[in-house]
Every structure is written in structure tokens, then in C-alpha cells.
């Protein structure tokens, strides 16, 4: 078991989880199952982030996507669906044309990406990624950082106004 073999194995297993989970998310008849598969997919994507040495981002992925966004989705599902009537048709009439379009789109992506030369850099990553991100957020990206708080405020007020009972 060489390093390369282990890396490949991890990547393919995680990719399989991501793709299979994604397919179940869009195809499951039961909306709650979709939500659980979404959690599974998001967790696998966190694994992919770990493989790409983005440890902080992987933790954030689990914390925000699984802990907050997916949980919000599950709340939404629980508030709007009933367990009993899941046998309804869950896709619209566009399924086959959409499938064709998606296949074409994927082919286009693969065609475009396969031979594109990217400037692979061999530079070393910062030793402590989380600390580096903190420094960057406070210096170079300080404006987006502050805008995020305004965005969150707007989202908070908007959502409260919309969801509040009259």
C-alpha cells in the first residue's frame, strides 16, 4: 500500500460518496431522504476538502453546511411535508430533455477542462492555514469581511420579516 495508492483510494471512495449522494438527493422520492443524503454528500465534500489540505474549510463545511444549512433544510421539510403522501410524482415533465441538456453540459465541461493547461504552482502552503486565513481576513479581505456582516444582517431581518406570523 503505497502513498499514491492510499491517496487514490481515498479520493475515489470520497468521490463515489459525493456523486452517489448527489444523485440520491436529486432523485429520491422522499424529501426527508433527500435531505439526509444531502448531509451525507456535504460530509463527503468535507472529506474532499481535507484531501486538498483545507482543514479549516472542512471544519467550516461540516459546521455550517451540515450543522446549519442542512438542518434548516430538514426543518423546512418537516414543516411542509407529510410522511404519508410521498408517492406523488416528484419530477416535472422536463426530466428527459433536462437529462439530455445536463449530459451535453457535462460533455462540454469535460471537453473544455481536459486539455486546458493550468499553471500548477509548487509553492509551499502556509504552515498554519487557519492563522493565515485569519490574517488575510483582517488585512487583504477586510472589506468583504465587513460586508458579510451586513449581508447576514440583511438576511436575518429579511427572513424574520418573511417568516414571522402576521
Amino acid at each position: 500500500m503505497s502513498d499514491a495508492f492510499l491517496t487514490n483510494l481515498t479520493f475515489y471512495v470520497l468521490s463515489f460518496c459525493v456523486i452517489a449522494g448527489g444523485i440520491f438527493v436529486v432523485s429520491s422520492r422522499n424529501l426527508f431522504h433527500s435531505a439526509v443524503f444531502l448531509v451525507f454528500t456535504l460530509f463527503s465534500v468535507a472529506g474532499i476538502f481535507v484531501m486538498q489540505h483545507a482543514y479549516f474549510l472542512a471544519a467550516i463545511q461540516v459546521l455550517i453546511y451540515v450543522g446549519a444549512v442542512a438542518m434548516l433544510m430538514i426543518f423546512g421539510v418537516m414543516l411542509t411535508t407529510q410522511l404519508t403522501n410521498v408517492r406523488l410524482r416528484h419530477v416535472n415533465e422536463q426530466a428527459w430533455p433536462a437529462f439530455a441538456v445536463c449530459l451535453f453540459f457535462l460533455g462540454f465541461l469535460v471537453y473544455g477542462l481536459w486539455d486546458t493547461p493550468f499553471k500548477i504552482s509548487q509553492a509551499a502552503a502556509p504552515a498554519e492555514v487557519t492563522r493565515a486565513i485569519g490574517t488575510l481576513l483582517m488585512t487583504e479581505y477586510v472589506l468583504p469581511f465587513e460586508v458579510v456582516s451586513v449581508l447576514l444582517l440583511v438576511a436575518l431581518i429579511g427572513a424574520v420579516v418573511i417568516a414571522k406570523k402576521e
Binding site: N8, I60, V69, T81, V91, L106, F118, S121, A124, A155
Partner: protein
């Protein structure tokens, strides 16, 4: 190290496939929440790409990771507001299948 290791293109392919799955979901699902989930899949596909570029092209500057961080935040804000809208739709339409919600047409 005779065997091939994972390159940038592998991640880009994975991201492309996940993005396509998300697009398919957005185009075909009838339920509004299912559409939101598909959108989240697309967001994640983009994040994989961003982090992959950060890892392979700009490892020292971490640009991709920072942008992915902001993407995650925007996705969270989007989910919060969108689900509030879904709840509102549910209250007034007694259902959230988007092909029934067509009152803007007329």
C-alpha cells in the same frame, strides 16, 4: 511513486459531475425545497473547484479558500431567506410544488 496521483483535473471532473447533478435537480424537481438542495449541491461543486485551484495554483495566497469561505456564507444566507420564502409560499398555497406556483404568469 509509479502510480498516478490525483491531479487538479480529477477534482475539476468531480466538481463538474456534482454541478451537473445539481443542475439536473434544479431543472426537474417539483418541490421547492428539493430545488434548494440541488442549488446547495451546485454551491458545493463550485467550492471544490475553488479549493482545488487554491491547492494547486495559488497554494501560498489561499485565494480560493477565502473565496470558498465567502461562498459558504452567501449560501447560508441564501438558504435562510429562501426557506423563509418557501414557508410563506406553503402558507398561502398549501403546498410547495413550484409548477403550481404560477400566479406571476398572468
Amino acid at each position: 511513486m509509479a502510480e498516478a496521483t490525483i491531479s487538479l483535473n480529477h477534482y475539476l471532473m468531480l466538481s463538474g459531475i456534482l454541478f451537473t447533478i445539481g443542475v439536473f435537480g434544479v431543472l426537474t424537481r417539483r418541490n421547492a425545497i428539493a430545488i434548494l438542495m440541488s442549488v446547495e449541491l451546485m454551491f458545493n461543486a463550485v467550492n471544490i473547484t475553488l479549493v482545488a485551484f487554491s491547492d494547486f495554483v495559488t497554494p501560498a495566497a489561499l485565494t480560493g479558500q477565502i473565496i470558498a469561505l465567502f461562498t459558504i456564507v452567501v449560501a447560508a444566507a441564501e438558504a435562510a431567506v429562501a426557506l423563509a420564502v418557501v414557508l410563506l409560499i406553503y402558507r398561502s398555497f398549501k403546498g410547495i410544488n413550484v409548477d403550481r406556483i404560477n400566479f406571476m404568469k398572468w
